[in-house]
């Protein structure tokens, strides 16, 4: 049987077998002096260790950025970064932003027009004018 195989690569379906959290790293930047970092400093002192324990998949870096507003930068597996300005937020607000960055996939926002996106073929198939009852004109 003269036949050749076509070389492709199987596509990933994250969450079908294993689930890989898309957030790879979170950077927390703060300033010791400025008032806009007050909530961030409190968060780093009291809640960051709990956040890190709850999310061991994420590498966490804390670094000072003097004379700048505090920020959180998320690094994602697709290579993109998302940076959030968290100036003047209190501790709870910063925790919320950190969880937001943890939960996003890092993809650009897209408009979804179809209710289902799937790699599988439709079970019913595409409607064909050549099959079924004929329409006589």
């Amino acid at each position: 049987m003269p036949l050749a195989g076509i070389r492709t690569v199987a596509k990933a379906q994250n969450g079908v077998g294993a689930f890989i959290l898309q957030c790879r790293r979170l950077d927390f930047h703060y300033c010791d002096w400025a008032g806009s970092s007050r909530g961030m400093n409190a968060f780093i002192r009291s809640s960051l260790s709990n956040f890190a324990k709850a999310n061991p998949q994420i590498e966490i870096r804390v670094s000072p950025r003097p004379h700048n507003h505090p920020t959180i930068v998320g690094h994602y597996i697709n290579g993109r970064q998302v940076e959030l300005d968290v100036r003047n937020l209190d501790k709870a607000g910063i925790r919320e932003k950190a969880w937001f960055l943890r939960n996003t996939s890092g993809e650009k926002e897209k408009r979804t027009t179809k209710p289902v996106t799937s790699l599988n073929e439709s079970v019913r198939g595409i409607w064909s004018p050549f099959h079924g009852a004929r329409i006589k004109i």
Binding site: L3, A4, R7, T8, V9, A18, S128, F130
Partner: protein
């Protein structure tokens, strides 16, 4: 359940084997407290370390401490060098790397899998030529395991798949490109240049600069065009993807610049190998199912027929079906620029396949190809893969798989 250990059957009759360095330096120290899965390690415990085994509460036991006394040491000429001059990061630094700990829990690996081994799987022989510190040996083991699990999955689930399609499917699941994609989907980053001062959580290999030629072992030797390289020859002589040349020894790439794909591939293979050594085959099988088999592959897109109509008529003759006949089911616009014909291939009263095309011949060929795919992609309902009976004593669980009589010979 009691297991029969083959290694114990004739062990007392043989001469004592020379002391062998275990493949993974951290395995014996960990196996002291954790139920071993590997029968070799088990037998080693019974012969040498039986007196020293003590009951340790698992909660108090620190895996890292046990690993620390058994870390491999570098030769004296290298050991006293400053950290920047070492070829790869020292294993004891693995505990301090946030990247490694994050990677371990991202892959949902249990904490008893040591970070030191995970760090070792990230060091390619091109960065560190010392086989005690690079992932060469682990990647050989992992590549064989991956090949074994993929082959048994394909041949048991699709017993009528032609050999070239099996090769293509293997390539799609565990080929170099697939493994490199998997590594990047796990969030692996590469170090710009390997060295002792680099974070151990980065992939360490010597990079191929742009415009540089591939190293000799990666090039392989291609057979001349006029040689007829048969499928049988590919099964026997080449790797599991039916390539023109056999795979290379990873240690042959020492200190040679390599592409990123090669290093990422060896990392994934080495990780599977080290998981097998540390956690045993049941967990590796689960890991393989979750990370590799769960990927989406459309098997019917892997076929590239050259003469499907001839193959189909030979197949029908072999199986004793009536000779296939192509019949026009419907058509439109025969005299326009865009005609469509729908043709079915029938054997007696049974429709074997159907295809649409813009000429009668094209539609007939497509219909024959669809019929051939329908035959080749048959999946039995109940399948027991051979590896599922590993370590089982009860033979009733094994249900023989269907074996097809083979491809159609034209």
């Amino acid at each position: 359940m009691k297991r029969i250990r083959l290694s114990r059957c004739g062990a007392q009759l043989l001469a004592p084997s020379p002391p062998r360095r275990p493949l993974c330096p951290f395995a014996p120290s960990l196996q002291r407290t954790i139920t071993p899965h590997n029968h070799r390690i088990q037998s080693r415990l019974q012969s040498t370390a039986a007196g020293t085994v003590t009951e340790i509460d698992l909660d108090d036991f620190d895996v890292a401490e046990a690993v620390a006394d058994e870390l491999p040491t570098r030769p004296d000429s290298v050991r006293h060098r400053p950290r920047e001059l070492l070829p790869s990061p020292e294993p004891r630094l693995a505990k301090q790397s946030a990247k490694l700990a994050a990677l371990r829990s991202r892959l949902s690996l249990p904490p008893r899998f040591p970070l030191e081994t995970l760090a070792r799987t990230l060091v390619h022989p091109s960065a560190d030529p010392d086989p005690a510190f690079n992932n060469g040996s682990l990647s050989i083991l992992g590549a064989n395991l991956l090949g074994y699990y993929t082959t048994e999955h394909l041949t048991c689930n699709y017993p009528r798949l032609p050999m070239t399609v099996i090769f293509a499917a293997q390539y799609a699941y565990i080929g170099p490109k697939a493994l490199a994609t998997i590594a990047s989907e796990w969030g692996i980053e590469a170090a710009a240049e390997p060295g002792g001062e680099v974070d151990p959580g980065l992939l360490q290999f010597k990079r191929l600069r742009s415009g540089q030629d591939l190293p000799e072992p990666l090039k392989g030797k291609k057979a001349p065009r006029k040689w007829n390289v048969t499928t049988t020859n590919r099964i026997l002589k080449s790797d599991e993807f039916g390539s023109q040349h056999a795979g290379h020894d990873p240690q042959a790439l020492q200190r040679q610049p390599i592409p990123m794909e090669e290093a990422a591939q060896s990392f994934v293979q080495a990780l599977v190998g080290s998981l097998h050594l540390h956690l045993g085959s049941p967990l590796v099988k689960r890991f393989y199912r979750d990370h590799f088999l769960s990927r989406h592959l459309e098997m019917d897109k892997l076929f590239d027929f050259r003469t499907p109509t001839r193959d189909l008529s030979k197949l029908c003759a072999r199986e004793g079906f009536e000779a296939p006949v192509a019949r026009l089911i419907s058509e439109t616009g025969r005299h326009t620029n865009h005609p469509v014909f729908v043709v079915g291939v029938y054997s007696g009263k049974d429709k074997l396949g159907e295809g649409a095309g813009s000429s009668l011949d094209e539609a007939r060929t497509r219909a024959a190809a669809a019929a051939m795919k329908g035959w080749c992609l048959y999946r039995p309902l109940e399948v027991t893969v051979p590896s599922s009976t590993e370590g089982e004593v009860d033979p009733t669980k094994w249900k023989p798989n269907m074996i097809d009589c083979g491809e159609v010979i034209v």
